[in-house]
């Protein structure tokens, strides 16, 4: 039987490339997001290119009450769910750091909604005793800085949540992988001055799928971000707090 992967937040460039990398391996797909037109375009594209089944469904991340129903519906449509890729991401603007009413949505999408939908996925996969959850977090969650600490805090919380989930699901044989991308060439970063070491979404997508065949639990993409963040995390706080970041 074919295996299905659920992609949450499927219209971003990283999610689209990750979905393509799974499709290239023969997985069927269920693409979830809030933009019905884009979802159906991406689903049609992947189905044609890789000759797989790709369905799509509306997923309102902020409507936490709807998550259970959404997940049940997705399984009903596809017959089963082998794995989940969480690619929800909302950057907000710079205001979000200072103005909590703007920041609340950043936390809601990047963390609260993620934890909510993953709780449904986790229980399902735990009972099946197989499968995987791949959570796309961010290097921004590794250390707080004045420029985007609300986004960073939400992504940092997501990384911790995934860590706990990994601990819980280990016994049932469900893999939980945390992905921390650095700069990726997407709409989020397009046109940013002085951008360097930019990875293509295709590279990120392929590496995410490859990670399933390896043992690492937390992966930085591209790999060197692990060392960049190691340096940044090792700067003493007494010095770090003085930096204009």
């Amino acid at each position: 039987m074919r295996k299905t992967v659920l992609i949450l937040g499927a219209t971003s460039a990283i999610a689209r490339a990750t979905a393509a990398a799974f499709a290239a391996q023969g997985f069927d797909l269920y693409l979830a997001g809030r933009d019905a037109d884009e979802l159906s375009r991406i689903a049609a594209d992947l189905a044609i290119r890789y000759r797989i089944t790709a369905n799509s469904g509306l997923f309102a991340a902020e409507a936490l009450d709807s998550h259970g129903r959404f997940f049940t519906q997705a399984i009903a449509e596809m017959g089963e769910m082998h794995g989940v890729v969480l690619a929800l991401g909302y950057l907000g603007d710079q205001q979000a750091a200072r103005d909590f009413s703007a920041g609340a949505e950043v936390i809601l999408i990047n963390f609260t909604a993620a934890a909510s939908i993953l709780s449904h996925c986790a229980s399902y996969l735990e009972a099946r005793k197989q499968g995987f959850i791949i959570g796309i977090s961010s290097v921004a969650g590794d250390r707080g800085r004045q420029s985007n600490y609300t986004y960073g805090a939400a992504k940092g919380a997501l990384s911790l949540y995934l860590q706990g989930l990994r601990n819980r699901l280990f016994a049932s044989g469900v893999r939980v992988i945390t992905v921390k991308p650095g700069f990726v060439d997407t709409a989020m970063t397009y046109g940013m001055p002085g951008l360097f070491l930019v990875a293509s979404p295709q590279y990120i997508g392929e590496r995410i799928v490859q990670a399933l065949g390896k043992s690492a639990d937390v992966i930085y993409l591209p790999w060197f971000w692990r060392y960049i963040m190691l340096i940044i995390k090792s700067i003493p706080e007494t010095l770090f707090k003085r930096l204009k970041l």
């Binding site: 219209t11 460039a13 933009d35 037109d37 884009e38 375009r41 991406i42 049609a44 594209d45 044609i48 290119r49 950057l91 603007d93 710079q94 290097v139 921004a140 250390r143 800085r145 420029s147 985007n148 650095g182 700069f183 997407t186 709409a187 989020m188 970063t189 397009y190 046109g191 940013m192 001055p193 002085g194 951008l195 360097f196 960049i228 940044i232 930096l243 204009k244 970041l245």
Partner: protein, 458 residues
């Protein structure tokens, strides 16, 4: 150090980017503001003037402008019916992406230009032709419909039967009537990825024309590679390469297995201008002629080698060095074609400028496309390296020959035509202009090409 860390960790959402951009010929180079939508609904015009750009495979300034809308991420294949061979896709999809899907399922592009890295939208905008134009016409003949995104943001379906006037202005219209959003295309059936090819050597131009006119040699596809450094009695020495899609049952057993074309080799940097000098090109041409003219027996070759020989070398435009090159392509009506091609090759030969690539093809009757390039006759395409400004004098001379014989220059290749020459070469411009005024009165769609040719007035 703090600044560096700041760059690493902050991700501002700036939607545009300004950087130098050029066409495939790498001349001219202009700083353009660029946007790159990822969602179909974001593929729409802004208040300022702009032009859509697919893969940048036109050679000159057709896809340059103050604001350039990159369509590369709006490239989804939307529907493919493997029974009828109808494909619908977003305009940013490349021919290569489409071929990867359709060839294994027994279909091929009805018309293809010499690169598979062009976008679908670009093929419509330039109304491209292939080696089969004399039988099958230009790209627009096989397009079932396009969705055109107009200056006012509205989306309209156009085809030869629906909004036909706008359709025939959009095909060959170089993106100036609106953004081409989606394309539906009728594919042709094939039963293998191979082409059966036969080469015929011609010692000079007269023999070349005789081969083109020999009905017994004619095939679905035909193209002549010309050694344009040969002169005197050998002027127009060529190899005519004829071919058709090979039926699966004709293939030798070894070719019946499914294959994947190899990864492209790349030219990693600009070659010094000296690398392609008259001597090295002459040597290459002589060797190539010897090798290719010997293949008089039919042979099978993969479609990628027959249709896209240069695609196997990524960035082959770097061969011509940092200053780039101009590609010159013109068509001459049948009556004066022999005299004109003789004059063009003589002018090139006298200029002692090495041209790697010179090809001659037959074209069939003109389509109703108002600015479509192809018309009945012969088309000659040349790469001319830009080494010094003397090239422009040569190009002027070529333009004069083309005008004298009632021919025209291909806008997708052109970088130097003047407004006056353009208006003589494209007699249906006035009709096109009337439609342009109708759908884009504020001239929101403008490119460097449209400004150079002064397409903002009659």
């Amino acid at each position: 150090m703090p600044a560096l860390i700041g760059e690493i960790l902050s991700i501002p959402a700036v939607p545009t980017l300004s950087r130098p951009l050029s066409g495939w010929g790498r001349y001219p180079v202009e700083v353009c503001e660029q946007v790159r939508p990822e969602r179909y609904r974001d593929l729409r015009p802004a208040a300022e003037q702009q032009i859509a750009r697919g893969q940048g495979r036109s050679y000159g300034d057709a896809a340059l402008g103050k604001r350039v809308i990159l369509t590369e991420r709006v490239n989804r294949l939307l529907a493919f019916d493997a029974t009828s061979g109808v494909l619908r896709a977003e305009a940013g999809a490349t021919l290569a992406e489409i071929l990867d899907v359709i060839v294994p399922q027994g279909w091929f592009l009805p018309v293809t230009p010499g690169t598979r890295f062009a976008s679908l939208g670009g093929c419509v905008a330039a109304d491209v032709h292939g080696k089969n134009h004399h039988h099958d016409g230009a790209f627009s003949r096989h397009v079932l419909a396009i969705e055109l995104i107009l200056a006012d943001g509205s989306r309209i379906t156009c085809s030869a039967t629906q909004n036909a006037a706008l359709y025939w202005a959009a095909v060959g219209g170089m993106g100036l009537t609106g953004i081409i959003g989606e394309v539906s295309l009728q594919l042709i059936p094939v039963s293998s990825p191979y082409v059966q090819v036969r080469h015929h050597a011609a010692a000079n131009l007269a023999e070349t024309f005789a081969l083109f006119n020999d009905a017994a040699l004619d095939d679905k596809y035909s193209v002549a590679w010309i050694d344009c450094l040969a002169s005197g009695d050998s002027l127009g020495r060529s190899v005519l390469m004829c071919g058709h899609h090979a039926p699966h049952d004709d293939l030798p057993a070894a070719l019946r297995q499914p294959t994947k074309p190899g990864k492209a080799r790349a030219i990693p940097f600009d070659l010094p201008a000296l690398a392609l000098n008259p001597f090295s090109v002459k040597l290459f041409n002589a060797l190539y002629y010897r090798q290719q003219s010997g293949k008089t027996e039919p042979f099978f070759t993969h479609y990628s080698e027959y249709f896209y020989p240069l695609d196997s070398v990524a960035h082959w435009n770097r061969l011509y060095g940092k200053r780039g090159f101009v590609q010159y392509q013109c068509v001459i009506p049948d009556s004066g074609a022999f005299a004109a091609v003789t004059a063009l090759l003589q002018a090139l030969s006298q200029s002692r400028r090495p041209s790697f690539l010179a090809v001659l093809k037959r074209l069939g009757p003109q389509s109703p496309g108002l600015l479509s390039f192809p018309m009945a006759g012969y088309t000659l395409a040349l790469d001319i390296p830009l080494r010094d400004d003397g090239v422009f004098a040569l190009l002027k001379k070529l333009d004069e020959i083309v005008l004298h014989y009632g021919g025209r220059v291909y806008l997708a290749k052109d970088a130097v035509l003047t407004p006056q020459e353009f208006r003589v070469m494209y007699p249906r411009y006035a009709e096109w202009r009337a439609i342009k005024q109708d759908v884009d009165p504020a001239l929101k769609f403008q490119s460097s090409l449209s400004r150079r040719l002064e397409l903002d007035h009659a």
